[in-house]
């Protein structure tokens, strides 16, 4: 039922596709982490801007990533922005997870005691200096594990790129399947790849969490 | 059998890793006797009650309740470790009141008092409710029987907890620092209830307490624990009036000065 020769045949092909998956994960997460921080910072700045950001975040989180990928891929060209499938897909993933990450940062900001802001005002620090030198260094370390968990979640959603024909792991497995009529090996291998990577990263996040809570706890 | 005390700790030891909490404890409590356990924190006094309630395992020795071994049972003439059924049968004789009340927050005062009689004793709902109502009346809370724990003061919650324990008709009642979590002005109402059940029910009572005045007035015997051992025990008049042991004297002086 399981063909080892076939498995060894397709391994290098899948490995090349895995590189695309990892690239998509890395770029998508950089967008998510940076944009998320910007969104959370805007929420701090004024209640009105905060409400707008909160509504945007809710909108993004309430609709499927797959539809958002389609939307960027099919709708943007209509307004003259033509993106290749990889760029559109990774951008959609990054935007989607930016919404989640902004909530993580927000929790981080809320955990910094009010007294830190008040002490900074008492020392006559500018708002920007306060934010950059006092608040951020305290808010960020505790939320790193939560961000790590979203990195893993984002990684597991990259197979959605196959829906717009980006040849990442899942798409490659489907192509192999449709060419050879053998789905068992490629799809199982993809599953195993995600399982191993997720378990390893979850372990790393746990170690990091322990280290951070000893260092900053 | 009639010779046997209600509770017997026979060479009981309890360790956490390398740390010995209780060292070879021997203690008998007679039927109907009221014993207070006092001592500095970390002296193992709470552990004495928690072991009897099976909330802590023991590392050595034997616990006897009402003439029967609790942690062991006899099988083919030999003592073997007790199974769950045996432990539940013995445990039915014991009730406990906790420092932090531990009422069930999703049930009313009455609901707290009928839950175990119905599910554990298989009592009918009507009978359980009548009995719970009597007990709540005895602790002075018949007006609050439909209130939830979150709507009651600490003192009221603790009185419900006492009624809840009594509803199981125990022969032995354990009180674990039952007034320690209360605001000072609420301590009196709880002690009043304990005094009353001491007088009206033929219960064997073990209590861990910091209320020296109450221990002196209420108990038949006081045990002073120090570093996992009974350092001194005797009638309250002796312990509080004329302590023989230097440690006891130091402890009582410190407590009286503070309070």
């Amino acid at each position: 039922m399981w063909d080892w020769a076939f498995t060894i045949d397709i391994l290098p092909v899948l490995a090349r596709a895995a590189v695309i998956t990892v690239q998509a994960t890395a770029i998508g997460f950089v967008i998510a982490a940076l944009l998320g921080l910007v969104l959370a910072s805007i929420r701090l700045s004024s209640p009105a801007a905060g409400l707008v950001v909160a509504i945007l975040v809710e909108l993004v989180r309430s609709t499927p990533l797959l539809i958002q990928i389609f939307f960027l891929f099919f709708v943007l060209p209509k307004v003259g922005i033509v993106l290749d499938a990889f760029t559109a897909g990774v951008l959609a993933i990054g935007l989607h997870y930016a919404a989640y990450c902004s909530e993580v940062y927000r929790a981080g900001f809320e955990n910094v005691p009010r007294g830190q802001w008040e002490a900074s005002i008492a020392l006559n620090l500018s708002p920007w200096t306060t934010f950059k030198d006092i608040i951020l260094p305290q808010a960020l370390p505790p939320v790193v594990p939560a961000l790590g968990n979203y990195l893993i979640a984002l990684f597991k959603e990259t197979p959605l790129l196959s829906a717009i024909a980006v040849v990442e792991l899942m798409q490659r497995a489907k192509i192999i399947g449709s060419e050879t009529f053998r789905y068992t090996e490629p799809v199982t291998l993809v599953g195993l790849f995600f399982l191993v990577m997720s378990l390893l990263s979850a372990g790393l996040v746990r170690v990091l969490d322990g280290w951070l809570s000893r260092r900053y706890g | 059998m009639t010779e046997m005390p209600m509770v017997r700790y026979e060479n009981v030891s309890k360790r956490y890793g390398a740390f010995t909490v209780l060292d070879n404890l021997n203690l008998d409590v007679a039927r109907g006797e009221k014993v207070s356990i006092i001592g500095p924190s970390g002296s193992g006094k709470t552990t004495v009650l928690r072991m009897l309630m099976t909330l802590e395992s023991i590392n050595g020795g034997t616990l006897w309740v009402d003439g029967e071994p609790m942690t062991h049972m006899s099988k083919n003439g030999r003592l073997v470790p007790a199974d769950a059924r045996h432990i539940r049968r013995i445990r039915a004789k014991i009730g406990m009141v906790f420092q932090s009340f531990n009422l069930f927050p999703h049930m009313t005062a009455l609901g707290n008092c009928i839950e175990a009689p119905i599910t554990v004793l298989g009592m009918g709902r009507k009978e359980a409710e009548e009995r719970a109502a009597e007990l709540l009346d005895m602790v002075g809370l018949s007006a609050k029987k439909d209130h939830y724990p979150g709507q009651l003061s600490g003192g009221q919650q603790q009185r419900v907890a006492i009624a809840r324990a009594l509803a199981m008709r125990p022969k032995i009642m354990l009180f674990d620092e039952v007034t320690s979590a209360l605001d000072p002005e609420l301590v009196g109402e709880v002690l009043q209830v304990i005094r009353r059940i001491g007088a009206e029910h033929d219960l064997t009572m073990l209590m861990v307490t910091h209320q020296m005045g109450f221990a002196k007035e209420f108990s038949d015997r006081v045990c002073f624990f120090y570093q996992g051992k009974i350092c001194e025990q005797g009638p309250p008049a002796q312990i509080f009036g004329n302590p023989q042991n230097e440690r006891t004297r130091q402890f009582l002086n410190a407590v009286l000065e503070a309070g």
């Binding site: 509504i55 797959l66 539809i67 197979p159 799809v187 599953g191 979850a202 | 009340f101």
Partner: protein, 242 residues
């Protein structure tokens, strides 16, 4: 405060859907998309039921089951949390038939999504059970309850309250992942959108309507869960717990 914003967002979404469905250029797509949305809702509801059952079973097995059962629960939770929903869907759809197990796309969809969300739900249930204060277990032991009685009467009702917000998030995740079933040929909302898009190339109206429809479903769930949360906190715990 936020609940009012949510309600306003839902009202705006529904209004937009109604207005657009009378506009030329939009209205031809509405019947087909509603059909797809109906299938989406069906899959989501059945998937949610399966997820709740699996979550409770796996959490209790992992916490209190005998050893082999505990391993089984851990394996289930780790495998379904460790791989993508889409990979699971494809595996059930493409690989099971090669082992002689043939299922229609609809049961495969419900099974895959229910098992996936159920694995996350199991950790939610387990966390909520463990968050019930230790004193509640001790008091139940002192009242001589069996473990089954404690769980059923004392622990689970309290854990239930703590579970509602995370389950709200999981149900939203479930609704969103129903869009994946379009990739195994089920004619859900996303599938209909893709199909119409390929046939007419009217991308903007189609995807606008689709986004609004998903938004309406998700916001309805979010608002319902908020109310359930408030009701449970009041109706089960009655003020702060002791």
């Amino acid at each position: 405060m936020w609940i009012r914003v949510l309600a306003a967002m839902l009202a705006a979404t529904l209004t937009a859907i109604v207005i657009l469905s009378f506009q030329d250029g939009f209205k031809v797509f509405v019947p087909g998309l509603l059909q797809g949305a109906w299938l989406t809702v069906q899959i989501a509801v059945l998937g949610a039921l399966l997820a709740v059952v699996m979550a409770l079973t796996a959490a209790l097995a992992k916490l209190y089951g005998p050893l082999p059962l505990r391993w089984l629960a851990v394996a289930y939770i780790e495998i379904f949390r460790g791989t993508s929903a889409l990979v699971q869907l494809f595996w059930l759809y493409f690989v099971l038939p090669q082992f002689g197990i043939f299922m229609d796309a609809f049961p495969v969809a419900v099974l895959a999504l229910g098992l996936n969300i159920g694995a996350y739900g199991a950790e939610v249930v387990r966390g909520a059970i463990r968050a019930v204060p230790k004193g509640q277990w001790e008091a139940s032991t002192a009242l001589n309850m069996t473990r089954a009685q404690m769980l059923r009467r004392i622990i689970l009702p309290q854990a239930f309250v703590a579970m509602i917000p995370p389950w709200g998030n999981l149900f939203i995740e479930l609704v969103k992942s129903t869009s994946l079933v379009s990739l195994i040929t089920l004619a859900d909302l996303t599938f209909k959108a893709q199909q119409m898009n390929q046939a007419t190339l009217q991308t903007v109206p189609i995807f606008t309507l689709v986004l609004l429809l998903y938004l309406a479903i998700s916001l309805t769930i979010t608002i319902c869960m908020r109310f359930t949360e408030g009701w449970a906190a009041k109706g089960v715990l009655h003020g702060k717990a002791s």
